[in-house]
Symmetry: C2
């Protein structure tokens, strides 16, 4: 695989070069550590091979990153940048061994600039720390991945992480104004600036966002902030079945006349799994499906009128019950249910394929129907949940208890993917392609498009040392 490129194995000489460049304490080749830094949240059972870093580095500065890249490029060593390891596509998997670069030590919030409504951070800052700091200044950082309490902002940017507020604010990339990056040869440069507009050159800032570390390594980011909405409320609307719940989604915007901050969907299986996992009753767990609708406003009365309107609309469109959460604890309870679904799924099952499909919003009902059809055909269970408001569904198909579960899930995936393509959808909305999905790229993108990805990759990284083995397959 990727045999067009050959890499040098890491030996004692390279280790000592790294040590003298960034300090002994910032380089490790301890086997246990290598193993624990050689995967993300994709279960290793999803892959047939085994992948392990040969060296770990913990840079403390952009200069350290630059020094490491100089050594790597001169010696043809692959480098896999790694955030908190919460990724869901094997993006941080060292597919060709080499160096795994952890950003744990580059975890400073450098500046919160109230005048320019920006925050400047290093890549190893935990995402929720940014939101919390902003909130203390009555400001909003609008990136909100479900993993935000653990994930690093650098990983969020590299994956263009989505999450719960994309429908209103866009994904992580939309929050980024500027990036300091280190290129494959060790050059440190900036794309963008503390500026709200910039057409000076090509928009490399947003090309890097979502490029999964294959073009450049992010070492600083300037993110935009917004005034913090003064009030918010979460509605949990229980529906008799998924079809009724999903059919209501477009009506929220159309008849409500507003874009909610979130519209999240959970099917019955998701609600049940979470209840069992948390060992605690969850709201609406007896419903056939549920929607979480988050509304934000500066004016309390307007918010109240809004949620009453949306609540009444829900009932008109088939909701059996609408819970209103307007205190911290009731809101947390609702979101805990939503956020625990992936954990609950991986707690109870280890043979599954977790999808990140995205379709035009009005095709979500068709997507759910297709998944149901394909699973029933094979007598498989599935969990359906996700960001209904932006058409991005994390459907998880549970594999059978048979030896050939990998092959069966592959057949199921391909059937679902064909339908997604026909619907105008695509393979990944926010989790990324990484190692896990690259084999499916040719189903979704035409040959010329794939060639362009390769050409742009080589324009940035001619030796293919930055996170090789991700997004594109060079042998195809």
């Amino acid at each position: 695989m990727d045999s067009l490129f050959t890499y040098r194995k890491i030996d004692e000489k390279i280790i000592s070069l790294l040590r003298s460049a960034i300090g002994d304490g910032n380089v490790s080749s301890d086997d246990e550590k290598l193993i624990s830094f050689s995967h993300d949240e994709v279960p290793s059972s999803s892959y047939k091979g085994h992948y392990k870093a040969e060296a770990l580095v913990f840079p403390e500065s952009s200069n350290h990153v630059s020094e490491i890249m100089k050594i790597a490029s001169e010696n043809r060593i692959p480098v896999t940048p790694r955030g908190a390891g919460t990724g869901l596509s094997g993006g941080a998997l060292p597919a060709f061994g080499g160096i795994v670069m952890s950003f744990e030590k580059m975890n400073r919030i450098i500046e919160l600039d109230e005048k320019n409504l920006t925050v400047t951070v290093e890549p190893g800052v935990v995402t929720s720390e940014i939101s919390k700091l902003a909130a203390r200044h009555d400001l909003l950082y609008a990136g909100d991945p479900c993993s935000g309490d653990a994930s690093f902002i650098g990983g969020n940017i590299a994956e263009n992480a989505g999450g719960n507020k994309v429908i209103k604010y866009g994904a992580t990339g939309a929050q980024v104004l500027a990036l300091e990056v280190v290129l494959a040869d060790g050059t440190v440069t900036w794309f963008g600036g503390k500026r709200r507009k910039d057409v000076t050159g090509l928009d490399f800032t947003h090309l890097i966002a979502g490029s999964e570390g294959i073009l450049a390594i992010i070492t600083k980011a300037v993110l935009k902030l917004l005034p913090l909405p003064r009030h918010s409320v979460d509605l949990l609307a229980a529906f008799p079945d998924p079809e009724t719940a999903i059919a209501f989604v477009p009506q929220i915007i159309k008849k409500g006349g507003i874009i909610p901050a979130s519209i999240e969907f959970m099917d019955k299986k998701a609600l049940e799994l979470v209840e069992k996992y948390l060992n605690n009753p969850v709201p609406a767990s007896d419903a056939g499906a549920a929607l979480i609708i988050q509304l934000e406003e500066n004016d309390h009365d307007v918010l109240e009128r809004q949620y009453e309107k949306i609540g009444a609309l829900s009932k008109e469109h088939g909701a059996s019950e609408v819970y209103v959460a307007d205190t911290r604890s009731t809101k947390d309870r609702i979101w805990q249910t939503r956020k625990a679904i992936p954990e609950a799924t991986s707690f109870f099952y280890d043979r599954y394929t977790k999808e990140d499909l995205v379709v035009p919003i009005d095709r979500v009902p068709d997507l759910l129907a297709k998944i149901k059809e394909v699973c029933l055909e094979r007598n498989l269970q599935w969990v359906a949940y996700g960001h209904a408001g932006d058409g991005n569904m994390h459907c998880t198909v549970i594999g059978p208890d048979t030896e050939d579960w990998h092959e069966i899930l592959l057949i199921v995936q391909k059937k679902i993917y064909s339908a997604v393509i026909e619907m105008g959808g695509t393979l990944s909305g926010e989790h990324g392609i990484g190692f896990k999905r690259k084999g499916f790229m040719k189903l979704f993108l035409d040959k010329k498009h794939l060639e362009l990805i390769k050409s742009v990759k080589l324009a940035f990284d001619p030796g293919n040392i930055l996170n090789p083995g991700k997004i594109v397959d060079w042998n195809e």
Copy 2:
């Protein structure tokens, strides 16, 4: 210039190839037409050379564009895509002759999709037609360049046009979900889709936005729509001087707790010029400077409270007078003043340099001070206006009545640019680099960054036939 690449001149054989590919009526080599399609809104006096197309083509479909590109790539002929010719950086100038491709005939709004809140358009649609159609469906197309009544959407996307609502909604690129493009070799492909999220591959959609036609030719675009805000109001706040007006800008967001749809600035000279040009009194023309603040809300009472609050804040921060425009005619009167500034300037002067500088919002006062200082040093007049809310100022320095006016303006520009760089600003916020500004790129971007632009350009267009002579100078 760009001597690394050589191009074939257009002869009768090429003309007849073009005619048979897209029809006789869609190809012209009429000299008068060639001249009128060989410039944009940058006055020809800004350039020392003369530039003229050798052939004009008027494709009617993506297929036509593809056929033209096949002929162009096989014969090494430069192709300059052209919208309505309202550009402000010489982006549509045929710097190496060759083919100018006009999109006048690809002017259909293909679909307005209320379920997915999208509109799909051809590149030759006039921008305001999209906004008007959306509004008839209670929807908002949020791209709003000042030239929107004349400019084509394809040009807006190619330039990542900004305008009056960037502070709230982002520039044109932020409205784009997908692009159908024709590549240099004639391949037709899609980047993105009718999807709110997409991390399948690299984000080429937003790389093409703002790439000024050097990477690919846009032949269709899917744009996002939003619910139309039900009510809006424009405040015109008159201030005694530019400093007081500009100092108030960050307070609007900070103390007001909201992001207005627009915050526009006009200095005394701008107000006077427009009054003289329109030959009609304009509001606040006796003020030292003025701000237009546009507020939008769904709730009328909330809007009223908001504009009362912002009005009172304006007074507290030194406004002598605040006019409230809440009817079509009063709003139009305010915006007519703002939008007529460029026209008025070019009506009264033909020796000037119109800048598109962008700085961090809090440095706008420093930028204005610098421009004043540099102009006073040389005894030059200047007009200062622009998008104060996002730090993008269109300062226009008027050249002296001397033979060496080109050289003097160049000295002035370089002084201003040095200061802009020190402030963390950049060369162009929304007008683009094009032909006009490419010589200044090396002041703002480092060598490696410029090399990356070239490499990515060649990854898309190895023969450099797509709008050559723009953004990058190959001889540097």
